[in-house]
Amino acid sequence: MTSIDENSKEKLRSVSVDLNHDASLLIDIPDALCERDKVKFTVHTKTTLSSFQKPDFSVPRQHEDFIWLHDTLVETEDYAGLIIPPAPPKPDFDSPRDKMHKLGEGEATMTKEEYTKMKQELEAEYLAVFKKTVQVHEIFLQRLSSHPVLSKDRNFQIFLEYDQDLSVRRKNAKEMFGGFFKNMVKSADEVLISGVKEVDDFFEQEKTFLLDYYSKIKDSTAKAEKMTRAHKNIADDYIHISATLNSLAADDMTANKNLNIILSLQKVEGRVASDQDLKLTELLRYYMRDIQAAKDLLYRRARALADYENSNKALDKARLKSKDIPQAEEHQRQCLQKFDKLSESGKKELTSFKGRRVVAFRKNFIEMAELEIKHAKNSVALLQGCIELLKSN
């Protein structure tokens, strides 16, 4: 069982702020177990709400269970006007696993120390991926628990409480909805872009903004990932350099000093890479998905608007034909009601989303700048010490 201590969780919990403060429903993932590719999360709930059977309980959940919960929420009509928190991405251990594989193959060509150090690095990377996936699953639940409407969702409660395997329920859900919604989402952007004429300035602006912002942030996320990877490569290179210097250094005092400094630089470089990953890349990645969720909201509203317009047309037709007028009127009323409801809640959601986003960016940028300064100061101290040592000899 790999457990994440509170301290490191605190550090990780930065992409979204102000969650999990309402004592009536506190959720966290204190433990997770990694078996090959499958991760089993322990979802722990503490609640004062009477709707739950117990005040304090835990259940094991798999990634697929989270996806099921997300999808059911998305499919729920009542939540059409809400931004559904983005589903956590599937745990991806491909990168460290491939590297581990390559390391195994290249074992013969490197010294024992080099191999050990590389292995340690890879284990750290593996652990980092593990921690990230736990964080992302946890934040998903915490977003739900802190939402006034979603926290009351029945399926959410089942997810938290049901102490048996959810997979049976999952299968039923899948059969019901199938890939229906997924297919819809594919053309969502088209609907948004081309679709119905917008009646509300606010939403018109939001649409323009979100579409543009999404593509930009998606681009930035991808580029940030590449940057982080390059940093990691450099950190790995330093491991190899220090290993080779080690073989050269046997009796040489100077070389030993160089060796030490290379090792320390490598550690710093490694930390810079992982901090950048957490503060910048993860931040961008998370909000990219969040903006997608916001776009989905706009899409649903757009569809509602389209439905309303169609119902208007149908009503006109009915009036012309003098047939089924009451039904048409009723239908039109319902569509309008739905549309209004979506617009109202949508506006609220999008406004608070803005605020949330700005706050999160601020927090992460500050932390990132502070960490960069800290690491750089470390390096400066190391380098100064080493240079002095070399010069004094």
Partner: protein, 482 residues
């Protein structure tokens, strides 16, 4: 057993003993009764013939006494004994002197054994059966030996194969925990011969080295690339390893100074050469990794620049004013980072990578010097062989009573004597030069590396300090987000 007088032609008794066939590899010559040793190169014995009278042949009886080695120069390899006639018909044995003053005289590419014939302590022999059994029970063989890296040294018929003999041990009597030397096949045989005649080891089962094989070795000398030669060398290497393992597994043998010397003793030149080779190898490896570092840093540059642009675009898109500003500022910081990475990459390359490249080439040049010394040595050896041939030719002429040709023969001998002396002097001189040069090179290298590394680190230091400034300038912008 032939009387030594039979094998005692006036000038070079040892030569006669040891090189009946001279440079001729064919073992067939050894069939001629007393001709024990066929050696293509038995340098020191010959040289001793040149430079000083060889005690060995003059006092064959001394060979059997462990105390034969006088405190002065000549230390004998006890194998040069009449008794060994039958046993070592095929043996190549080399003698070496270990004179502190003329260490340069040692063979550059062969091992040098100074066999010190000190009396083996009687304490080696357990006095009672119980003690014997006790010794057996102790049985802690904290020594591991390996024979690896067969390497053909030299060319043509003078070539031989040098093996790396590595020892790993926890016993304190050795100079360190892990060490290695280069030895050739004849050295292993020599070890056996020394051990087998020691009084102190009489009664002990001395492990046997693998058999000599002229055919196999000739093929190797001529060209080592065909599979049968490779197989031959591999079989021999494995056999030598097993032989050594058995030797060090024997408690009495392990204590023997000859065995220890075989495992440990190094010639300065041999040592240095190994060092140089190792260092070159390591530098090459380092160079590869540093090249990789340069590439990755350049990648980082590119990725950072691209990211900065993307971030600027995102900033333009952002509708919150303060956040938009912060994003643009962050994009600028990343741009500056890219600049820093560029400079760092240049530093990686121009200071670090190029330094390594230069020294890899320089080490090649150092190896070249060693090769030159080797060639000087070989020239000297060949001259000695030729001289030997001339002397034998002269002897034959004397026998055949052809006085007319004799004069020419004598002239040739004089000529070649001069040459041998000259080449020996050349060899000594080049040895001293190489030694001086290597020491000078090492000092220069240490200085050079140190100054370049200081430069590299200083550049990195500056870079980091600028980095701090950039992020410190950004921090208030981030805090200003509202």
């Amino acid at each position: 057993m032939a009387a030594s007088s039979d094998r005692n032609p006036p000038p070079f008794p040892t030569a006669e003993e040891s090189e009946p066939g001279l440079c001729d590899m064919a073992d067939a010559d050894s069939d001629e009764g007393e001709d024990i040793f066929v050696s293509n190169s038995n340098p020191v014995s010959v040289s001793r013939g040149v430079s000083q009278p060889d005690r060995v042949s003059e006092e064959p009886s001394d060979l059997f006494s462990e105390e034969a080695a006088s405190s002065t120069a000549a230390k004998a390899n006890g194998v040069h004994s009449d008794d060994d006639n039958d046993l070592f018909a095929d043996t190549n044995v080399e003698l070496s002197t270990d004179k502190s003053s003329s260490s340069a005289r040692k063979e550059p590419s062969g091992p040098r054994h100074a066999s010190t014939f000190t009396p083996s302590p009687a304490a080696m022999q357990p006095t009672s059966l119980e003690q014997l059994e006790e010794e057996e029970a102790k049985d802690s063989f904290d020594v591991d030996v390996a024979v690896t890296n067969p390497e053909k040294i030299g060319d043509g018929m003078n070539a031989y194969v040098a093996y790396k003999v590595s020892t790993r041990t926890s016993l304190p009597m050795f100079r360190s925990k892990v060490f290695s030397v280069r030895r050739r096949f004849s050295d292993f045989l020599g070890l056996y011969e020394k051990l087998s005649v020691k009084q102190s080891l009489h009664g002990c089962i001395i492990p046997l080295p693998p058999e000599k094989s002229v055919v196999g070795m000739t093929k190797v000398k001529v060209g080592m690339d065909d599979p049968s030669s490779v197989e031959f060398v591999e079989r021999r290497r494995a056999a030598l390893e097993r032989y050594l393992q058995r030797v060090v597994s024997h408690p009495s043998l392990l204590q023997d100074p000859d065995v220890r010397e075989f495992l440990e003793r190094e010639d300065w030149f041999e040592d240095k050469f190994q060092e140089v080779e190792n260092e070159e190898q390591q530098l090459r490896k380092l160079h590869v990794v540093v090249d990789s570092l340069v590439i990755h840093r350049k990648e980082l540059c590119g990725n950072t620049a691209v990211f900065a642009k993307s971030l600027a675009m995102l900033g333009n898109s952002e509708d919150n004013t303060a956040l938009s500003r912060a994003l643009s500022q962050l994009a600028e910081v990343e741009d500056k980072m890219e600049q820093l990475h560029q400079e760092q990459a240049a530093s990686d390359f121009f200071i670090f990578a190029e330094l390594l490249g230069d020294y890899i080439r320089l080490l090649g040049a150092v190896r070249g010097c060693f090769d030159q010394r080797m060639r000087a040595w070989q020239r000297w050896q060949e001259a000695q062989s030729t001289l030997q041939k001339k002397r034998e030719a002269e002897a034959k002429l004397l026998w055949a009573n052809k006085p007319d040709k004799l004069q020419q023969a004598k002239e040739e001998i004089t000529e070649w004597e001069a040459r041998v002396t000259q080449y020996e002097r050349d060899f000594d001189r080049i040895g001293m030069t190489v030694r001086k040069e290597v020491l000078r090179f090492e000092k220069e290298k240490a200085k050079d590396f140190k100054s370049q590394i200081i430069k590299y680190l200083e550049a990195m230091l500056q870079s980091q300090q600028r980095l701090i400034k950039f992020w410190e300038a950004f921090l208030p912008e981030a805090k200003a987000i509202a």
